[in-house]
Structure formats: C-alpha cells, structure tokens
Symmetry: C2
Subunit: 119 residues, 2 copies
C-alpha cells in the first residue's frame, strides 16, 4: 500500500515538530515531581513514561532553560561514580510550569471541541 507509506513519512516529519515546546513542559513537570534530577536520569524517567528523548535533544533543552532562568543546576561529585549536574526548578521555573500547564490544557480542550462528535 503506497498511500500508507506516504502518510507514515509525513507523520514522521510531523512528530519532531509536534514535540517542540511539549518537551519543555515534560521536563519541567518531571522536575516538579522529582524535586531534582540529572540528564541521563531524566532521559530514563521520560522513557519509562513512554517518551523517548535523545541526548542531543535533552541537553540543549536543559542548557537553554538554565540560561533562561527556569532551572538551577548544581554539580555533584558522588564518592563513587561520575560527576553529575543536578537540576531543580527555580521560582521562575515554577511560575513558567504553571502557565505552560494552563495553556496546554486550554489547547487540549480546544482540540476536543474542534473534534466535535467525530471521535
């Protein structure tokens, strides 16, 4: 089936676009529920929840949010093991998360209205 292949290719392209911004919300939400975490640990937790995120995506995201003031990182060198950079929400980050959640929920509600009875 040719039609199917075309559709799948389109959706694959769409996938990475549709994650823009959404991953910010996921990362902030994760930190809100875990209090603090580091890169690889977050990757594993997100995957556990069903969301595969690569390093090339997550690390720039964490760097940006730190630069913007939503995250407060702190290096920690455990007695045994590799040094880790732990992130936690800053006060600004908590405000940002709350606003993002509101907006996201509004958008989902709008989508449901748009879908109308067609589901």
């Amino acid at each position: 089936m040719d039609e199917m292949d075309a559709a799948m290719a389109l959706v694959e392209k769409w996938r990475s676009q549709s994650r823009k911004g959404f991953l910010d919300l996921c990362a902030l939400s994760l930190l809100a529920s875990r209090d603090e975490s580091y890169g690889l640990d977050m990757m594993e937790a997100l995957a556990q929840a069903g969301l595969e995120v690569s390093e090339g995506t997550l690390y720039p995201l964490l760097a940006r949010m730190t630069r913007e003031g939503s995250l407060s990182p702190s290096w920690t060198t455990p007695e045994t093991g590799h040094p880790r950079k732990y992130y936690r929400l800053s006060p600004t980050g908590q405000l940002v998360l709350a606003a993002m959640r509101e907006e996201f929920d509004r958008n989902v509600a709008a989508l449901r209205r748009i879908e109308g009875g067609t589901r």
Copy 2:
C-alpha cells in the same frame, strides 16, 4: 513583581513553539468534522473553539498540507461573494490524521504519567 514578568515573557516565547505541529492536528480535525471549509471560515471556527490562528499561520499551513497530499483544494465561485478555496481531507490526509491522533494521545498520556501525583 519582576519574577512574574520574566516567566510571562518565557511562556510567550514558548507558546508559538508549542503550537508547531499541533495546528496541523487541529486543522485536519476540523476538516474531518466539517467535511469541507475554506481559510477564513476555518480561522473563525478555530477561534470559536478557543484557538486564535492568524492568516500568516493558517495559509502557509494549508498550502504545505496540500503540497504534501493531505488536502484536496478546489476553487469555488459562489453566485454572490468572493471566490473561495475549499479544502477537504484526501485519503492520505485521513490516514495522517489518524496517526497524528494516536501519537498525540500517547504523548498526553505520557505527560500525565510524568506529572505523577503532583497535580
């Protein structure tokens, strides 16, 4: 409150990012429930549902989806009024919509898991 302003500015920047891809899903969903519609009419319907979309956003989106094969447009000149370009879902577009819905729902479910009990 300074902290609040910083957060609002960040969320404003985030907003347009978070709509990438999401608007594709909304447009396809709208056409699925309406069978056919034209640009300004879609803008109005989306706004009615709580989603403000500008022309500079919607028209390129419709042009792209047409180019990709998800939409089948057809010009219509009514007896009275301005010529309109009506869009409807192509067979490919219906497959794309179904796949997008699945993925979107999976992502929302993942987010809810990530949020855990913190809401």
